[in-house]
C-alpha cells in the first residue's frame, strides 16, 4: 500500500463515503471546479457531478444553514470552510441552530463542517486560527482534530456517518507533511477515543493536532536525558476521552497539556480542570500548559515562531516538571 498524505487521506475518506451513501454531498466555496483552496476536494465534482459537489456563494452562514436544512431532510452534507478562521461567520447557525435542533425539534443534524486550521505556515491572524475552544463550550456539537493521516481518514468517515453535527478540524501544516499507510478495507476511527502516540512513564503530554508531532520530538529529546514521556493524542476534543487522560496521569503522575491555540480560555484549561477533578491525588507535579501566547498570530516568521508553542518549549516545561 502506498503512503498517502494527510490531505489525500481526507479526500479518500470523503470519496469512499460518497460512494457508499448517495445522501452524502459536499458544499463550499470553490470546492467544485477549483477543487478547494487546498485541493482537498479536487476531482470530486468530475466524479460525482455538480449536484453532489456544490460551489456556494461566499457565505459561511448560508453554507451551514443550507446544510442544516438538507440534513433535516435526510441528507448528509459535508461543508467546507475555506479557512476554518471564517467558521465564526457561521457561529450563530452552529451554536444557536444546529447544536440545539435535536433538543428543540427532534431534528438531528447529521452534517460535517470541515476546514483547514492552524498555523506554523506564516498565514497571519486570519489564516492560522484554531477556534476549537469556541465550540467546546457548546453542548450539541462534536469536535474532531486528527494528527495523523490514518486518523484523518478514519475520523472523517466516522464524522460523516455520525448522526450529529461534527466539526472536523484539519491542520494545514500537516496536509502535505504527514503521510501514512491506510489500513485496508473500511477504515473507521471511533469518535471520542484518544490514542497513545508514544508510551512513557515519567510525564504525560496531552495534546492534539500539530503539537502531537512537536510533543513526539520533545519526547525524543527528553529520552536522551532518561526522561520517559508518554504522548496522548486526543483526536476527539468533544466528547473528550477522560478515561485515556486519567489512565495516563495515573501512570506517569505528571501532566503537561499542550496545544497550538492561545492559552487563555483554551482547551488546556478544561483538561487541567478534569485532571484535578478526576485524579488530583495522583499528581506529583502541578499540571502545566504549553500553548500560544495570547496575541493575534503575527505574520513575521520569527514572531510566529515565538508565539506558537515549539518543541523546545515542551522540553523546557517537561524538565521543570520532572525536577519539581
Amino acid at each position: 500500500m502506498a503512503e498517502v498524505t494527510y490531505l489525500e487521506a481526507i479526500r479518500e475518506g470523503i470519496t469512499e463515503e460518497m460512494e457508499r451513501d448517495q445522501n452524502v454531498f459536499c458544499l463550499g466555496e470553490d470546492i467544485g471546479k477549483y477543487g478547494g483552496a487546498f485541493k482537498v476536494t479536487e476531482g470530486l465534482q468530475d466524479r460525482f457531478g455538480e449536484k453532489r459537489v456544490i460551489d456556494t456563494p461566499i457565505s459561511e452562514a448560508a453554507i451551514v444553514g443550507a446544510a442544516a436544512g438538507a440534513s433535516h431532510m435526510g441528507l448528509r452534507p459535508v461543508c467546507e470552510m475555506q479557512f476554518i478562521d471564517f467558521i465564526s461567520c457561521a457561529y450563530d447557525m452552529l451554536t444557536n441552530y444546529v447544536a440545539t435542533a435535536r433538543y428543540r425539534a427532534f431534528l438531528p443534524c447529521p452534517m460535517v463542517v470541515r476546514g483547514p486550521s492552524g498555523g506554523y505556515v506564516r498565514g497571519g491572524p486570519f489564516h492560522s486560527q484554531n477556534p476549537e475552544a469556541a465550540f467546546l463550550h457548546t453542548p450539541g456539537l462534536k469536535i474532531v482534530y486528527p494528527a495523523t493521516a490514518e486518523d484523518a481518514k478514519g475520523l472523517i468517515k466516522s464524522a460523516i456517518r455520525d448522526d450529529d453535527c461534527v466539526l472536523f478540524f484539519e491542520h494545514k501544516y500537516l496536509y502535505r507533511r504527514v503521510k501514512g499507510t491506510m489500513p485496508a478495507g473500511d477504515h473507521v476511527v471511533p469518535i471520542g477515543k484518544a490514542r497513545v502516540a508514544r508510551e512513557g512513564t515519567d510525564l504525560s503530554v496531552i495534546t492534539y493536532a500539530a503539537t502531537v508531532w512537536k510533543a513526539l520530538e520533545a519526547a525524543e529529546e527528553l529520552a536522551k536525558d532518561g526522561v520517559s514521556v508518554e504522548v496522548i493524542d486526543l483526536r476527539t476534543l468533544l466528547p473528550m476521552d477522560d478515561e485515556a487522560i486519567v489512565a495516563s496521569v495515573k501512570k506517569t503522575n505528571r501532566a503537561l497539556v499542550v496545544h497550538e491555540d492561545t492559552v487563555t480560555g483554551g482547551i488546556a484549561g478544561e483538561i487541567t480542570a478534569r485532571i484535578n477533578e478526576l485524579c488530583f491525588e495522583w499528581l506529583d507535579a502541578p499540571v502545566r500548559r504549553v500553548a500560544a501566547h495570547d496575541v493575534p498570530l503575527p505574520y513575521a516568521p520569527t514572531l510566529e515562531d515565538f508565539v506558537l508553542p515549539q518543541t523546545s518549549d515542551i522540553v523546557r516545561a517537561a524538565r521543570w516538571m520532572v525536577a519539581y
Binding site: N253, F280, E281, W282, L283, D284, A285, F306, R316, A317, R319, W320, A323, Y324
Partner: protein, 465 residues
Amino acid sequence: MARIDVIMPQMGESIAEGTISRWIKKVGDAVKRDEPIFEISTDKVDAEIPSPTAGTLAEILVQEGQTVAVQTVVARIETEAGAVAAPAAGAPAGGTAAAAPAAVATPPAPAPSAPAAAAAPAAAPSTARPAPAPTPAGNGVESIEERLRRRSTPVVRKIAAEHGLDISSIPGTGMAGRVTKSDVIGYIEAGGAAAAAPAAAPVSAPAVAPAAAPAAAPPVAVPAGYPAADAWEGDTVEPWSRIRKLTAEHMIMSRRTSAHVATFFDIDYSRVAQLRAKKKAEYAARGVNLTFLAFIAKAVADSLRKHPTVNAAVGHETTILRRDINLGIAVALDWGLIVPVIKHADELSLLGLARSINDLAERARGKKLSPDEVQKGTFTITNPGVFGSTIGVPIINQPQVAILAVGTITKQPAVMTVDGVDSIGIRTMGMLSLSFDHRIVDGSDADKFMADVKKSIETFSEGAV
C-alpha cells in the same frame, strides 16, 4: 581580573522570586558574554539567563531547585583581564540575548527602589539588594526553603498516608528538597515505611523513628478532623512525644481502615498450668521464664498455618495471604507501647518462643530493639490480662487483619463432665478475644481459628513442652 555578580533577574513586573531550575554551566566552565548560564522558572516564565560578561564561572551560590528573591546574587564570574562587565548583571541585555524567551522580560530595574520587597517571602526585609542566599535564617522566621520543604505533591501525600509516613522525615530530591514520588517510593522500598509505621494497635516504635527525623519538626496536628479540647485553669498540658503521636495516628487510622469485629472464647488453661508447673524449673535453668503467653503464642502460631486469611493483609481490592508467620507481641513500656516481632514463629519450639518473648520484651524496655525487629509482623498478640483485665477488644495493628487479646488467668469453679457425670471442679480459666477485619475475615473463619487455638491450648501435647 574581577568578580562579577550574576543576579536573579526580574522577569516581569510583579515577579518577586525565581527558581533556578538548571545550571547550564558548571563551576570552572568558560562562558561567553550572553551565553546562557542557567535556567530559571518564575510564576510567569521559564527562561535561560545569559551571562552578563565573559569569563569563568567561579562560584555558584544558589543551587538548582532553590527559590530566591529577585536581585539575589546567584553566582560570580571571574572576568578575564580587561574584560568589562555589562552594567546590569543578569540583564538579558541588548537584542542579542541568545535566550529568546528572556526577551519577554522587562529589564531588571537597576534602581533598587522597591523591587518586590513586599512580596518577597524571604526571611529578612529585603529592600537591600543582595539578599544573601536562602537557607534557614535561624531566627525563627521560616525561609523559603523551609516552607517548600514541607511541601509535597498530592501523590506523595496519598502514598505517605497509605503507609503512615511523616513526609518531613523523608529526604527529598525535588526542587528545594521537595519530596517527590520517587523519593517516597524509594524510602518505602528501603524499609523506611515499616520502620515508621509498625504502629497500630498496641504500638509504635521509639528507637525506630528514622534517624533523619528533624527534631525540630513543628508539632503537626494529627489526623484531621479531631476535635481538640481546651485546657482549663490548673490543667497540665503535656505535648505529645513522637511515640504518642504515632500511636494516636495509627489507632485512628486503623479504626477508619478496618471493619472491626470481635469474638470471645473461654479457655481452660488447667492442662497448660500443670505442664508449666512441671517444667518451669527446667526452663529457668536454661535462662527462660516459661509463661502462659508462650503457650498461647505456640498455639496461635501453629493455628495460623491452618487459617491463612487470619494471617493476611488487605491490598488494593486484593487479599494478601502472608507466607511467613511473624508474631507481634505487644509490650507495655513506661513511655508507650511497642510491638516487637518474632519472625517465623511457627518454626520455633515452645522453648524458642518463650526465649524470644523474654528477649524481645527485655530489649524493648532497654530501648535496644533494632528497626527490623519491629517490622513485618503478620499477626499480633496483646496481653492486657497481666494487669488484671478480664478481656479486652484491641484495635488491629495495621496492615494486619487480626489481633488476639489475652485476658487474666484465674482459678474458677467450672462444670466438668467426667464419664458422663457432671461435677464442679476448680479450673484454671481465662478468656481470649480476637479482633478481626471483617473486610476479609468472616466470622466463621475467625471462630474456626479461635476454636483451633482453644483446642491446642486445652490439649497441649506434653511432648511439645
